[in-house]
């Protein structure tokens, strides 16, 4: 499970970084979203990967660490708000500058 999990995170991050470097606002927003997904999953895995373990002591033979789950929840909420903000900002940028490059102008060919 760990190997699959790690490959998934690596793939998500790699795609995110690639999209981020495209320097077009929509791609950048998608890239940031992918990276934040990868980070959230990573944070979750820091409580160690276990299946069938409740986050409450005494409910099952093994128990999962509840703290990373709480952290992930916070990170998801913050990431969601930030993504919403950056989408609006990207639209605003498109309206003000007339193109979707992050520098506000098309690169010279």
């Amino acid at each position: 499970m760990e190997a699959l999990y790690a490959i998934t995170l690596g793939l998500l991050t790699a795609c995110g970084v690639y999209l981020l470097l495209r320097a077009r606002t929509f791609a950048v927003v998608l890239g940031l979203t992918l990276i934040s997904y990868a980070v959230n999953l990573f944070l979750f895995a820091m409580g160690r990967l276990k299946s069938g373990a409740a986050a409450v002591i005494g409910q099952s033979s093994e128990y999962a660490d509840p703290l990373p789950q709480a952290l992930v929840l916070t990170a998801i909420v913050i990431g969601f708000a930030m993504t919403a903000f950056v989408v609006v900002l990207a639209l605003r940028s498109l309206a003000e500058q007339g193109n979707d490059h992050v520098d506000g102008e098309e690169p010279r060919p």
Binding site: F42, L71, I78, M82, F85, E96
Partner: protein, 499 residues
Amino acid sequence: MNHALILPILLPLLSGALLLFAARLNLVHQRLLSCLATWASLPLAGYLLWQADSGQLYSYALGDWPAPFGIALLLDRLAALMLLVTALLASVAVFYACRGDDQRGANFHALFQFQLLGINGAFLTADLFNLFVFFEILLIASYALLLHGAGAARVRAGLHYVVLNLLGSSFFLIAVGVLYGICGTLNMADLARQVAQATPDQQPLLAAAGLLLLLVFGLKAAVLPLYFWLPRAYAAASAPVAALFAVMTKVGFYAILRVYTLLFGSAAGALEGLGHAWLWPMALLTLLLAAVGALAARSLGVLLGYLVLVSVGTLLAGLAMGHVEALSASLYYLLHSTWLAGGLFLLADLIARQRGDKAGELQQGPAILQGRLLGGLFFLAAIAVAGLPPFSGFLGKLLLLQATPAAQALWLWPLLLLASLLVLVALSRAGSTLFWRTARDVHGRAEVDGGRTLACVLLLSCSPVLVLLAGPVLAYCEATARQLLDLAPYLALVSGGRT
């Protein structure tokens, strides 16, 4: 438990929330509420500074959960000092904003309060994840403040700032995750204990997490490869916002100082001094390139942005040396550079308002209506910020140079003096363009506002005050540095909870 500890967080939180509800209220009431809340933070910060000066560490357990398990706030001399820096800067900035800049868009005052909430929280928290949360609060408020009353330049500078910081937040979370995964705690003092006990196979991971934190805080503090967003963003922001942002790079500096003295400080065993090898060259290169940038700036706002970067380089050089004298010199320089940079941003706005369409561009423009007053202020502020006697910049740089050990002096002395010279040349060129190489007539729509001028003078006068009170201020800075480097009391805070 001392409940005054949480007031610097609660006060802006409540007033910010009230201001959101009061958005329909007329502007006079909003301004009154915002000003009162901000000004109240000044005596509060003074009281906390007085408390912290006893040398005791004040820990505040939220929900009364003991330290490593619950979320804790921590007040030491450093946190109290940073609170005072912020409170003074914000008190003047909010007054300046009330003279008209808050009308350009909605909810200025609510955003301003949330920004203070984030900054104060970041200074007070003793928990790494909470530091992340407060960073996000101050960042999202700063995004909105930066774009307040938006124009094309602000949107463009804002997009870079937002995207870079979002990526920075991701790195921050990865670092926090690694630290938690290995140490099983997020309380900074407890983390310091766990880092000290790390086994050799855990140390490379901990070092990676520590350096990731350096990357994140370096982005906030705007050190060399990570500062390119700053000059344009600060130049595009409205004057009171730019003045308040003068403390934002210092939040990054504070975070580096806190993490690298506590987590990877003298108690960290094999990981002691992690990152110092990077900090020193980064600080020196930031110093040099920022001074060159200041020389090349084509508008006053960008020039001031580079001056902020020069101060960041100087501060980090003191931090990288890491001993008591260098740290206390750095802290003294931090007070000077934050307040003076804030004052200069306000002064730049005053000048721009009397130059019509030329605004802050460093080109020949109309004569300035209050040429003598503003020119005089600019002259004095330039002397202070470039580090010439008799003002606080000179004292701060002198202390830092004196504190440099011989081996490092070979690098720091020439670079710091060269940077000061470049800054002086840039400022005198800007000053002569703005005040002397002008047309004969003043601009028809030149604005004069006594309140704005007063706010600017208040911040700039911090520099002579810092010289007059240099004795007690330096004594406090030195006590702060000693407290930071003596880790035993910090570690004792969490020893009760764990076996």
